[in-house]
């Protein structure tokens, strides 16, 4: 389908057409924004940089029930997932992170919870016209209008949104919107392309990743790991807020006789993550944990799935309480190679 135009005056109507689906959109203010279910009748304002928490929770909730059971009884009940969700205004980096994480959750065996949600979720993206201070998507294979992982891409052209379907799901959204849309002429498409070029030019941070995936494991004992992790508090913010971080813990929760087995986000920056019951810990300090985090994203994941598990969203840089900066770490890696 060709590119379509939506006059912003018709935006609330467009959102209103998405009946029967739960709409998630960025809500809150400034740095505090996060994706959350929208009240019926609301039309989200899409003027924002990016959410503090990535929308990965739509596919991989922070805590998710695997099954419920009663203590002493044998049958277990798996929650039915059936609500269709539309994520409105997802930044291309975050959508791309989902395409990247798909690799892991489908590796040899599908994760049924993740892929059920993947089926139920439609991703409507919003191209970035004003990159954030620490964005570096273009250094790791993405871009301000990357469509990877998205079903539909929107670009803000002032009075209008330019809408481009990426998948069948995206096309059917456009069909549903029908008469609200008009066909975009070449000028509008060119306007978008120019906007994106300017946006790319406005990205201030960059990184040359060549040689890093192959070279990283060879820097195992390099003093750089001590240096870059010395100020780390081990708070885990970098991993919780990372759109590609996907590690989880599994725990049983019991209240009276009612119980559930659930999984929840975990972080490789915590000591307990790898702690053996014997007390032995293969990654005893923040040096080893930082080394693993960087190696996992920039080398191990590349080995297995041929893509860097970082989308350059800049969250870990923006929100680290002690200003640890992954771009700077990788620059030091590059120098040490």
């Amino acid at each position: 389908m060709s590119a379509m135009l939506l006059n912003k005056e018709k935006w609330p109507e467009f959102v209103g057409k998405l009946t029967g689906k739960k709409i998630w959109a960025p809500q809150g203010e400034g740095q505090e924004m996060r994706f959350a279910p929208l009240d019926e009748g609301d039309a989200p304002a899409l003027e924002y940089g990016n959410t503090r928490v990535p929308p990965k929770q739509a596919l991989f909730p922070q805590t998710e029930t695997l099954f419920r059971f009663q203590l002493g009884r044998e049958d277990v009940e798996v929650p039915e997932l059936e609500e269709e969700v539309v994520l409105l205004g997802v930044r291309p980096c975050d959508a791309r992170s989902m395409a990247i994480v798909d690799n892991l959750f489908s590796w040899e065996e599908d994760d049924p919870y993740y892929f059920k949600r993947r089926e139920l979720v439609t991703l409507v993206g919003l191209a970035c016209s004003e990159p954030g201070l620490n964005c570096f998507c273009t250094s790791v294979g993405g871009g301000p209008a990357s469509t990877e992982g998205l079903d539909l891409l929107m670009t803000d052209l002032g009075e209008h949104y330019l809408l481009e379907a990426v998948t069948e799901k995206g096309e059917s959204l456009l069909k549903e919107a029908g008469d609200l849309l008009e066909e975009a002429d070449d000028d509008k498409v060119k306007e978008k392309e120019q906007l994106i070029e300017e946006s790319k030019g406005a990205i201030k941070r960059s990184l040359d990743t060549e040689g890093i995936p192959e070279g990283l494991p060879g820097l195992w004992e390099d003093p750089l790991w001590q240096r870059v992790s010395a100020s780390c508090l081990g708070c885990g913010t970098c991993t919780y807020l990372c759109p590609t971080c996907h590690c989880f813990d599994i725990q049983d929760e019991v209240e009276g006789f009612a119980a559930r087995r659930c999984r929840m986000w975990d972080s490789c920056m915590f000591g307990e993550y790898t702690l053996h019951t014997s007390g032995h810990n293969p990654r005893p300090t923040r040096r080893e944990r930082t080394r693993n985090r960087i190696n996992h994203k920039y080398s191990y994941f590349v080995d297995k799935f041929d893509v860097i598990a970082c989308v350059g969203c800049g969250r870990c840089v923006n929100l680290c309480p002690v200003n640890i900066d992954i771009v700077e770490i990788l620059k030091q890696v590059k120098e040490a190679l």
Binding site: F67, P112, I250, C268, T274, Y300
Partner: protein, 282 residues
């Protein structure tokens, strides 16, 4: 219970028999279990070296190596040291109780490739659990292999697992079975000394031999050193790793040693591969 489509839902298995291998605060208890569901029982197939997630609903699960060979029958055996929350709950189970089991997980020892070769196993403490299936498998298919040498040690005779069956093996002339304890004890008529030293004393020939080792990290380090002294090449040596695990299916992330997930790429590793992974012996 429906299971197959959802890898997180365990099967139920009933304890047919259970006994203590060792005593004390960190006792090791063996569970012999049979799946409740006949279909599961029929479809289940595991190979020596593989693990399973066993547990108690409401408490949790732990990854434990399957300590029996499929040649022994339609049951599973797990030998579990009482260490944390889940293993304590498992230790409270008695014959007739149920545990949950899912798996089998991971790769296995390439016993088909090893046909015609002499098999040498070197184990320490609870590290013998993943090697017992190798020993049992080779015993059951003895004509296919060039012989079996087993070296197994623990701190004291009270810390040795599977003691009765192994003592019987020491009396079998076909097998070369060597038990050892760290410190001299009365009425102990086997070896005294650390496992790596007993390995040197037994002095097995590397020719057409596969060495498999599992035990405490410090033991493995010296066993590897001594195997090299005896002339073993890296690709003749196998070991099995363990790391903290939650999912068992390569998703939860934590069990990696370098770029290898122990639950999928392991737990069995050839030493030639393993020595390239900087984190493997961390």
């Amino acid at each position: 219970m429906k299971t197959n489509e959802n890898p997180y839902i365990p099967y139920y298995a009933t304890l047919e028999d259970t006994w203590f291998e060792t005593g004390g605060e960190r006792a090791i208890k063996t569970f012999k279990v049979v799946f409740d569901d006949e279909e599961v029982r029929k479809n289940w197939s595991h190979s020596p070296g593989q693990c399973a997630m066993i547990g108690v609903l409401g408490v949790g699960e732990s990854m434990i190596s399957i300590s029996c060979s499929p040649t022994e029958g339609e049951f599973l055996r797990f030998s579990v040291m009482k260490m944390g929350k889940v293993t304590q709950a498992l230790h409270q189970l008695e014959a007739g109780d149920k545990m949950t089991v899912r798996g089998p997980y991971g790769n296995s020892f390439p016993l088909d490739e090893w046909e015609g070769k002499h098999i040498l196993t070197i184990g320490g403490g609870i590290g013998q659990a993943p090697m017992r299936p190798v020993v049992e498998y080779v015993k059951a298919n003895y004509e296919k292999y060039g012989g079996l040498t087993m070296i197994y040690g623990a701190r004291t005779s009270g810390d040795l697992c599977f003691k009765n069956e192994f003592e019987e093996m020491t009396r079998d002339d076909d097998l070369s079975c060597h038990l050892t304890i760290d410190i001299e004890e009365e009425q102990w008529d086997h070896n005294v000394g650390f496992v790596p030293q007993v390995l040197l004393d037994v002095n097995p020939s590397p020719e057409n031999t596969i060495a498999v080792t599992c035990g405490p990290p410090i033991m493995i380090r010296f066993v590897l050193e001594n195997l090299k002294k005896l002339g073993f090449e890296d690709d003749q040596i196998y070991t099995t790793l363990e790391n903290r695990m939650k999912c068992g299916i390569g998703k939860c992330g934590r069990c990696n040693a370098g770029n290898m997930y122990v639950c999928k790429d392991g737990p069995v590793f050839n030493y030639a591969t393993l020595k390239e992974i900087p984190e493997a012996f961390a």
